[in-house]
């Protein structure tokens, strides 16, 4: 049997040492989820009319092709404190919608929320903050149709100064909000706010 040369062993050893060190170092780095830039903030085009409103029909899935989201939607209620409840944190590819409110595609403000991460790492809306104005959001509905939304703005709001009316308030056209955690993060208090995507209905199929 031909002996493995010392050079080969030394090369593998050096490569393994370097890559191992790099992996350990990089793996320990903090990788915060993407946050929207100021350029994605709202421009007040809320009066622009979109597509005609659809009938009431509960949503089943949300798809956001530009950030690779394709997740089922569960119904959400409110917590005893009155905030929107969230899907179980263990399910990393699951989002929810506020089922006492407007259904996506209907006239008014429909609300969808999902986790940015859980204890094991990134979750369904990890890249929500990377959405841009004009990005497409699709909501598949129980009536078999799909409501097509176009992003108007992507904002970050601090938890202690959350604009309830702007995010949850009534709209005269069919609108959608997609919410996840965001803003600054501290170990003691977690994420300090929410990323909120504002979109309006621009079509259906």
């Amino acid at each position: 049997m031909r002996r493995v040369s010392n050079t080969a062993i030394a090369s593998v050893t050096v490569v393994a040492l370097c890559s191992g060190t790099w992996l350990l170092h990089n793996g320990a780095q903090v990788h915060p989820p993407p946050q929207p830039s100021a350029a994605q903030a709202g421009t007040g085009d809320a009066l622009r009319q979109g597509a005609p409103a659809l009938r009431h029909s509960p949503p089943e899935r949300i798809r956001i092709p530009s950030i690779g989201v394709n997740a089922p939607l569960m119904g959400l209620g409110l917590t005893p404190q009155g905030s929107l409840d969230v899907p179980p944190a263990g399910e990393k590819n699951l989002a929810g919608w506020y089922q006492a409110g407007t259904t996506p595609g209907e006239r008014g403000t429909a609300i969808v929320a999902g986790h940015v991460d859980n204890a094991n790492g990134p979750a369904v809306f990890y890249n929500l903050g990377a959405l841009k104005k004009g990005s497409a959001i699709e909501v598949a509905r129980r009536d078999g149709g799909t409501a097509l939304f176009t992003v108007d703005a992507v904002e970050v709001y601090a938890a202690r100064d959350f604009p309830d009316e702007k995010v949850y308030g009534a709209a005269s056209r069919p609108e959608l909000r997609v919410i996840t955690c965001g803003g600054d993060y501290s170990k003691a208090t977690g994420y300090q706010g929410n990323v909120v995507v504002f979109a309006h209905l621009t079509g259906s199929r």
Binding site: V14, W22, T180, G182
Partner: protein, 173 residues
């Protein structure tokens, strides 16, 4: 209660309509009260107009069914309609309400106003405050990268040990 009242009003109107039908024709399209928008949410402003009161006709409007009370329809240049406005109270409940206008000459016309809550959902509690949708799990060490790093370092250690063994055996390193 309201339904009963509505039924009675409807009956009265039907009787009146029969009366009108037997009377000399007045021209069909002028008989009604136009309500715009005809479907509103509580708190909305509503405009009504009618041509039934004739040129320069004014009328007294009654929107008390929806809780908005009495209002005045003034004569306008617009197609010689009498026009008036009222505000639907924010506390109005969903339903169909009859809005009445009585011309100064005595004729009465009615139109329907539908109040619904789909745009505002005032009776439903909207969420308040921020949403707890993250714990920072994406921010800590990446377990996959960490495991790969540990494995690579183990390979490096094995390689190093092998080389040291060879040197100890005098294999010429």
């Amino acid at each position: 209660m309201r339904r009963t009242a509505r039924l009675l009003t409807g009956t009265a109107l039907a009787v009146a309509a029969v009366g009108l039908a037997t009377a000399p024709a007045y021209g069909g399209s002028t008989e009604s009260l136009e309500v715009f928008p005809s479907t509103v949410v509580p708190g909305a402003d509503v405009t009504v107009n009618t041509a039934a009161c004739g040129t320069d006709g004014t009328a007294t409007g009654d929107a008390s069914a929806v809780g908005a009370g009495i209002f005045i329809l003034a004569a306008s240049a617009h197609e010689q309609d009498a026009i008036g406005q009222f505000k639907v109270p924010p506390s109005a409940q969903p339903g169909t309400y009859e809005i009445v206008a009585k011309c100064s000459q005595g004729r009465q016309v009615t139109g329907d106003l539908i109040v619904n809550l789909t745009a505002t959902r005032e009776q439903i509690h909207l969420p308040r405050g921020h949403v707890n949708t993250g714990v920072g799990g994406a921010l800590g060490p990446d377990p996959v990268q960490t495991a790969a790093g540990v494995a690579a370092l183990a390979v490096a250690a094995a390689g190093g040990t092998w080389l040291l063994h060879r040197r100890a055996r005098g294999d010429g390193i």
